[in-house]
Each structure stands twice: as structure tokens, then as C-alpha cells.
Symmetry: C2
Subunit: 380 residues, 2 copies
């Protein structure tokens, strides 16, 4: 039995005020095409389907189209859970009615305990348990159990599921959480402050495979079969060197066999280019990917007129410009300006404080002359 | 064959800052109970399911629960269209996947031309065509046809459907529009300004039944089988005398047989009470429906201290207070000479309210003198 593990689609995301919906469409079409060419028994999406709980209409239309291609046209069951970015109730509307058509959106704890069973010859019955994203407060409130951390919450939820295990089946868990020790990326939204969101991977060991979502870098943690697929595409410049894709997971009657990374290629990469303006522009003509989304970090230390316009004439999708070299210059300038102007002001304040009277205009004139004389002395 | 025709649920509506979701829940449960006791072959909801395109989570949860009871528990197909209040794309998410479970949300023109077929012994195949709410701009844009009014748009859409008629079937249309000559209520949102939204009922004549939504008063227009069910409940005080409910529609092999109005009872009615404050309060003790949502129109012509508090001590759900009597008083005062008379009148009312006794003539004299003294002071 083979299934695809993907997550963190974040449909509807904006990046530096640019809508990524068309890029997301292209990458999702790669998933559809993959399934068309290499049929699989199921597709798992481990949360953060949308980028926010009330997604834009375009994102809804895109997801609807992709799911209809996967479930109806390609007749492949899809199993998904909401992540911390999704609105579980909103995403879960009609879930009961969708199940018969192979679209399984698991958005509450009752559904969590009713696994989606996919049966194949080589692996028998595989039970997919979806754990909708939930913070400790929700688990405490909805299940009336005393848990105060994400770790305790996940331990409890895993226990509820493993108690229901039918040992003639294989067991796959889908969860959206932060496994302790795994690598973060910049584009994730923290689940809680100060590390209280970390979950021990030990809770997941009883499963044959754990399809994780939340962290945007593909990786496994604790064991080969406890794995993040990473996000659909790069969602921050700091991910420029990450590979994005999905896992093809193979199970047999004995459980986990292998996972294979299937790369997905966004139409625009996210890259950081660093250097002096004239060098960057001169090198652009040999750059085969001039349409990429760019962060340009200019190292020039002199002021440049309209650097964004100049860059966009060769790189149309420069989304952000940093000028660390020039910032140093500006900073120095501000410091000196502040001093020059403030010496007179400070003396005026000092005089007022000590004499309980303002400077007369003759005194003011005298002070200004003294300061100017001192300045000239400094400069010589 | 019997089916229910309902519309204009407006789930998530607020009324004078009060959420109606619990009332809507109670009324929807009456529909579920009706179907449990009197099984029907289908349930039609003719648009304005939600009150706005991005409904609150509570409304989504309620609709989800009701549809699951109808489609899954009671195994009754539901056929719905978006109205002008709904977001068609948002409401239509997963529609393809829901069809197999009997939940039919028809939210685009392609789906409009694929009728939902319900087959019974006494009527044979009945084809339900859902026409998602659409203004002329949408029809023009999506179907590339030169229509400029709602009437032309509906004529065109009806023609597209009737061209597809299988004459061995009965044909039901579900549409959300304003049929020319039908009666408006205050709680509807106009589809366009100045009457350009009116649709001629003639376009609908070829159908065996037309289940209409948009107008909130139950009524038929043009022919017995072209009918508005009206809204789920009252959504304005001006609807206080309207009956709210749904239609049980019967068809046989020859088409339309009958429609029967099934009343639905909201837990709080919306009523207008008019009279003097003391009369209203005195009569309240014999009022069996003191929890109703009330608009109170006070006819008193003198000022009253805290009338809302006084009314709410007997009618807890007074949502709006009108004081036409006092407005006329103020108006007259303003039109006649200044405030000399009214200041005294107002003080007299105030004294009566706070002391539960009128001014003595000595007190009256004193107040008049004080006011005169103040006036003279002002004029100097």
C-alpha cells in the first residue's frame, strides 16, 4: 500500500503583499499529475490546509477543484485534518456527507476515534487516525481531562486512539504538532510561547507511520516513521535552501516499509541575493530564474536613487529590499546630526535649570558662537 | 411524491444586536422533527441559507448538525441553492463530494444543468433544477450572453434548463429572485435599486413547481405552483402578523397536486406593543408571551425616566423603544416658541417620576421663578 503524505498547504497565503494562489495552484497540480501517473491508495494532508480560518474565496475554489480531481476524477481517498491556521468547524462543514465520496476531513475528537480504513492486498486494512489540531485548553475542555501542556494533550489523545487499536490492522496517525527537537522554519506560527508546545515523539511510537504537519521543513524525528512532509512550497526567504515536496509512504502487513521524498517545484523560487547593485544587475542577464521572488540585500554603502526600480528592471519580482550597508551610513549621520543640534539645546536646558531663567538673546548668541568655535577647533 | 419547500433561513442573523442562533436552532429542529414524523422524499431550501457570505462559526455548526440529521440520520435528500446573502463559492465547497450522501448544494451554472433526480412510485422521476442566485452581471460574464436585467437573466437561465427537459420527468425549479408583483417584507435586502430586480413569473410556467426564495412572506405569484415559502422566522417587527412556515408540496405523474402550509413556531415572537407606559406595564401580567422580542412604541407625551428599565422589568426582551408621542411634543415645542414652557414641563415630569407625586402649586411657582431667573441671567 502506498500513500502520499503532504501538509501545510497554506492556501490563500500572501507573501510580501503578493498572492501566492497561482503558485499554489501550479504545485497542487503537480500532486494531481503525480497521482494520475502513479496511482496511490490514499492522500494524507496533515493540516494548515488554508492559511487562515476564514480563507479567501480563491483559496476555497482552488481547494475544491483539487479535491474534486483527486477524489472524484482519480478516485483516490483524501484524509485531512485542520492545523493551527485552519478553522476546524469551518473546514469540517459537510464532513459527514463527504465521507462516502472519499473526502475525509477529520475535524473533531469523535471523528478522530473513527479511523478511515483503506484496504489493500499487500497491507490488509490500514486505519488512518486523524488528530485535528488542538491546544491543551481544547482537549481539557472537550474531553474533560486534566492536561496543561501540548505534550500531555497529545499523550492523552494518542492513548485514546491506541486503546481502540484493532491489532489486525496497520495504524497511521495524522497530527499537527511540534515534535520536540525537530527543526523550525521562519514561516511557522508558534503554537504557544516559550517552548510549551513541544511534544515528545515517544507517544507516536505505537503507530506504523505518523504523518506530521506544522513544521515546514521535511524531516523525521525520533524514528524514521515519525515524519514531517514540510510545506507545499517555501513561505519565507530563509527557506531558500530547503527542498519542498511530499513523501510517498509504503506499508505492508508488517507495517512501515519506506518513505520516498517526491520534490515539488514552485514556479517562482524564493531567494536572497546579496551584493552591490551594479554587480547584481550585471549578473542578472546570466540568471535563468529572473522571475523568482527575491529578497535583495544591497551591500552598497553610498546612497542610491530608486534602487527598487533599477532592480525590478531585471528582476521583476523583487519583493523586499534590505540595505544594511546604507543603514550603517544613515545611522552614523543621525548620531552626528543629533549631537550638532542638541549641544545648544542641552546648554539652554542646563542654564534654565541652574538659573531658573531663560537665556537672553545676547547670551544665546554668545553660546552659539562658542559652540561653533569649539566645532571648528574639532575639525581642524 | 412529497417534498418540503423552505427558504431564507438567514442563519447567524443578528436582530437589534441579539443573536438569533438559538431561536433558529429551535425552529430548524421543528423541521427535523416534522421529517422524522412525516417522512418526505426531499427537502428544498431556496437560498439565503446564511445571513452573510462569511457566516459565524455557530451558524456553520448549526447548519452542519441539521443537514447531518436530515441527510444521514433521516436519509432524506436535501437540495439547496445560495441566495443573495450567501457566498456561493464558500457554500458550495465540497458539493461534488456531498452529492453521494444526498446533500445537494447547487452553486454554479454547470451544476444547475445537472438536475437532482428523485424517483418515487407515484410521480416517477422528478428532476430538481437549482438556479444559484445570480445577478445579470454574473450571467453575462459567466455565460457570455447579453442580458442586462434580472428578468432577462432569469429568462435566459430558464431557457437553458427547459431546453434540457426530459419530458418523461416532472420538473421542479429552485430559484432565489423577486417575482414581479409579489409582496415585500422589511427584512429583505434589495437585489438592485429601483425595481430592476423584478422577474416575470411567465418564465417559470413550464415547471411543475417553482420553489422560490428571497421574499420573506409565504405567497404564490402568477400561479399556484410558483411559490415563496417565506423565511424560517420573522426577521423584522413589521412581520409581526405574518405566518412563518414551510410548504409540503405534492406531485404526481401529472405534475403539481397541492401545497400545504406547515407553520413553524419561533420560541420568541417579534411583536410591536403600542400604548402608554403604565398601561403596557399593567397589562403585562396577563401577557402569556412576555419573553417575546418587542418593539415598544410609547404614546406618552410627557418625559419618562428610564422607560427601557421599567419595560424590561416586565418584558425582558424589549429590543427597541420608540417614543413618537414625545417626539411630537419635542417637535411642537421646537416649532412654537423656545423652551420656556418645556423646561418647566420637563421638570414637572421629572419630579413626578422621581417623587411619585406632582409638584405642589408653591413648588410650581418656585420652579417657574428659578427658570425665569436663569433665563434672564442667560439673556444678559
Amino acid at each position: 500500500m502506498k500513500f502520499l503524505h503532504t501538509s501545510d498547504w497554506h492556501l490563500g497565503r500572501q507573501f510580501h503583499n503578493v498572492s501566492l494562489i497561482e503558485d499554489q495552484d501550479v504545485v497542487l497540480q503537480q500532486i494531481v499529475n503525480y497521482v494520475r501517473q502513479h496511482p496511490v491508495d490514499a492522500i494524507v494532508v496533515a493540516g494548515d490546509i488554508y492559511d487562515r480560518s476564514v480563507p479567501p474565496t480563491q483559496a476555497i475554489l482552488l481547494l475544491n477543484r483539487v479535491l474534486t480531481e483527486l477524489c472524484q476524477t482519480l478516485n483516490t481517498p483524501v484524509i485531512m485534518i485542520p492545523g493551527n491556521h485552519d478553522g476546524a468547524a469551518r473546514l469540517g462543514f459537510g464532513a459527514e456527507q463527504m465521507r462516502a465520496s472519499g473526502l475525509n476531513i477529520i475535524s473533531d475528537f469523535a471523528q478522530m476515534l473513527e479511523p478511515v480504513i483503506v484496504t489493500t492486498e499487500d497491507a490488509g486494512e490500514v486505519a488512518f487516525y486523524g488528530m485535528p489540531y488542538s491546544d491543551p485548553e481544547q482537549v481539557r475542555h472537550e474531553l474533560q481531562v486534566a492536561v496543561s501542556t501540548h505534550d500531555e494533550a497529545h499523550q492523552h489523545l494518542c492513548q485514546l486512539i491506541t486503546e481502540k487499536f484493532d491489532m489486525s490492522q496497520r495504524h497511521v496517525l495524522i497530527s499537527h504538532c511540534f515534535v520536540d527537537g525537530a527543526m523550525e522554519s521562519e514561516s511557522e506560527r508558534p503554537l504557544s510561547i516559550g517552548g510549551a508546545d513541544r511534544v515528545n515523539h515517544q507517544h507516536f511510537l505505537p503507530f506504523d507511520y505518523v504523518a506530521l504537519g506544522h513544521l515546514h521543513q521535511p524531516q523525521f524525528k525520533g524514528a524514521e516513521h515519525i515524519r514531517y512532509s514540510g510545506s507545499l512550497m517555501k513561505y519565507s526567504f530563509s527557506e531558500q535552501h530547503q527542498k519542498k515536496g511530499m513523501y510517498l509512504v509504503e506499508l505492508n502487513h508488517d507495517g512501515f516499509v519506506a518513505s520516498t521524498f517526491i520534490p515539488l517545484q514552485a514556479p517562482h523560487e524564493m531567494r536572497i541575493i546579496e551584493g552591490e547593485l551594479h554587480t547584481i544587475i550585471a549578473n542578472a542577464k546570466d540568471d535563468p530564474r529572473r522571475d523568482d521572488y527575491l529578497l535583495v540585500r544591497l551591500t552598497d554603502t553610498h546612497a542610491i536613487l530608486d534602487p527598487m526600480d533599477k532592480l525590478r528592471s531585471v528582476y521583476p519580482n523583487v519583493l523586499h529590499l534590505e540595505k544594511p550597508g546604507m543603514l550603517i551610513g544613515v545611522d552614523q549621520e543621525m548620531r552626528s546630526q543629533r549631537l550638532k543640534r542638541s549641544e545648544f539645546d542641552m546648554f539652554k536646558d542646563f542654564f534654565q535649570e541652574t538659573h531658573q531663567a531663560p537665556l537672553t538673546s545676547a547670551q544665546e548668541q554668545a553660546v552659539i558662537e562658542v559652540i561653533q568655535a569649539l566645532k571648528q577647533g574639532e575639525e581642524q
